[in-house]
Amino acid sequence: MEYVPVNFPFLAAALLVGISFYIIIFKRNLIKLVMGIGMMASGVNLFLVALGYRAGGNAPIYTEVPEGPMVLSVPQALTLTSIVINVAVLALMLALVIQIYRHTGSLDSEKSRTMKG
């Protein structure tokens, strides 16, 4: 990583979050919306893990670790909690999409609207 002149993981995280904002705002299919939110979660998780990197570091575990610095372990704990929470959120969103499809017969967000004004 130290030979790449640009902070590559941060660019990738920003690209993921940007593309997922585009998907959430402009796409009309409900499943695509759910996938967009999953992608945004992946982007934020990547950003958190990349924050803790130290050049040449090892995994932050004391069992049989080689010599050298360790990467930071707190962002890894934050990322793990975030992954667990996003699993629950995505499961709930998919269950609600299934129910909307059963009631209105369409996955298009314009055709499955029931409330206006």
Partner: protein
Amino acid sequence: MLSKIVRTVANQLILFVLVFGLYVIAHGHLTPGGGFQGGAVIVSGIVMLLVAFSSHELSKSVRERILSVMESIGAVIFVLLGFAGLGATFFYNFLAGSPIFGNIPPTGPNPGDFWTGGTIPPMNFAVGLKVVAGLCAVVLALALFTGGEEVEE
């Protein structure tokens, strides 16, 4: 339901997946892993069974009532382990130094000793139980919904 070869292989492979998942849960305080990660591995084995046999067949063996009870017991054990440290504060590691999981590990790199950690390994097991029950219920409910059946209570 897929062909007989797939069903037989899935029946044999589920044992290895379960043992590996249990290893990941149990060694959460020494190697990467822990409650949620090991639980997700076990549920992926159950998804393999779900694909090999149809969801209709699997729901005859796995009852929703058992899953609900398992989930609640796992969560209650986790919170009670937090309450048990209330002599000092909530979530205090009261088992460090005691006969259960009580060895103090040396600081710095070391070959891992399983009998360390205090309250962390029991919490890993409780969380693993809850995650297995919860994710299995989610996967089974979604598969049954899209198969056209209704899950009531």
